[in-house]
């Protein structure tokens, strides 16, 4: 079984080591036949404007952030036949090329891990309380939420909207 010493969710300013996290997630668990991971990184551009993002500040809602992601992992475990899951999200000041988010999932076979990993990212993008503020040559700007992220969550049959005026839950 996965070690109980490793939390499922970490919100931190520090960077993370994907290899070490994956090793810990599958350690001593011979049921595991598949590990799927996703890492999101900071880009220096939006919509084809290279070099326009000098840095990015990540704000979150301490307490709710952890609780909401724990609930998403519970939902993933209900929905998919997976063993373990680990989510790390960085906050504070980040630079282009920095790692920002990691999701890793273990299962017996690849299909469940691939699906659960994508499900967790789709859920997190629209339902976890994080906000990005970009520093650009024109000044600081809060990043707009994307309708395409709501559509990504909708494909799992979850009708929670982030971008609409009256977001239903």
């Amino acid at each position: 079984m996965p070690s109980h010493s490793t939390p499922r969710v970490s919100i931190q300013t520090a960077d993370f080591d994907l290899s070490a996290e994956v090793a810990a997630l599958r350690a001593k668990d011979p049921r595991v036949g598949a590990v799927c991971s996703f890492v999101g990184t900071v880009r220096d551009r939006t919509a084809g404007e290279p070099g326009t993002i000098a840095s990015m500040e990540l704000e979150h809602y301490p307490g709710m952030t952890e609780k909401s992601i724990e609930a998403m992992i519970d939902a993933a475990q209900q929905r998919f036949d997976i063993f373990g899951a680990r989510v790390i999200h960085r906050v504070g000041l980040l630079q282009p090329l920095d790692q920002i988010v990691m999701v890793a999932v273990t299962s017996a076979h690849r299909g469940e891990s691939f699906q659960a990993c994508e499900f967790l990212m789709d859920y997190l993008k629209t339902q976890a309380p994080f906000w990005k503020k970009e520093q650009t040559p024109a000044g600081a700007r809060w990043v707009d939420a994307r309708v395409s992220d709501d559509k990504a969550l909708a494909k799992w049959g979850i009708a929670l909207e982030n971008t609409s005026l009256n977001a239903p839950d």
Binding site: E59, M64, L124, K125, T126, P129, D144, T163, D169
Partner: protein, 83 residues
């Protein structure tokens, strides 16, 4: 009753504080939002109807019909942009 109201991101910046204690008679989050809008100024600007504002009650996302209870922690924030 007393409630704690939290603001995040652009709403926090506009209002100028991240958290405030409020005495309210509002029975729902919609009524609390109306009370805050009625304060005018930055509250009215950032929480105005017609803006995409998301809400949480006791750290769970909810809609405005949610019932307000003594000691509740209510949060107002823009659509989230993590990941």
């Amino acid at each position: 009753m007393k409630v704690t109201v939290k603001y995040f991101a652009s709403i926090r910046e506009t209002i100028g504080v991240g958290s405030e204690q409020r005495e309210t008679q509002a029975s729902s989050l919609a009524a609390l939002r109306d009370e805050l809008i009625a304060l005018g100024g930055a509250h009215a600007e950032s929480l105005a109807r017609g803006r995409a504002v998301r809400l949480a009650l006791n750290q769970v996302m909810c809609d405005e019909s949610a019932e307000l209870v003594e000691g509740a922690e209510v949060a107002f924030f823009p659509p989230v942009t993590g990941g």
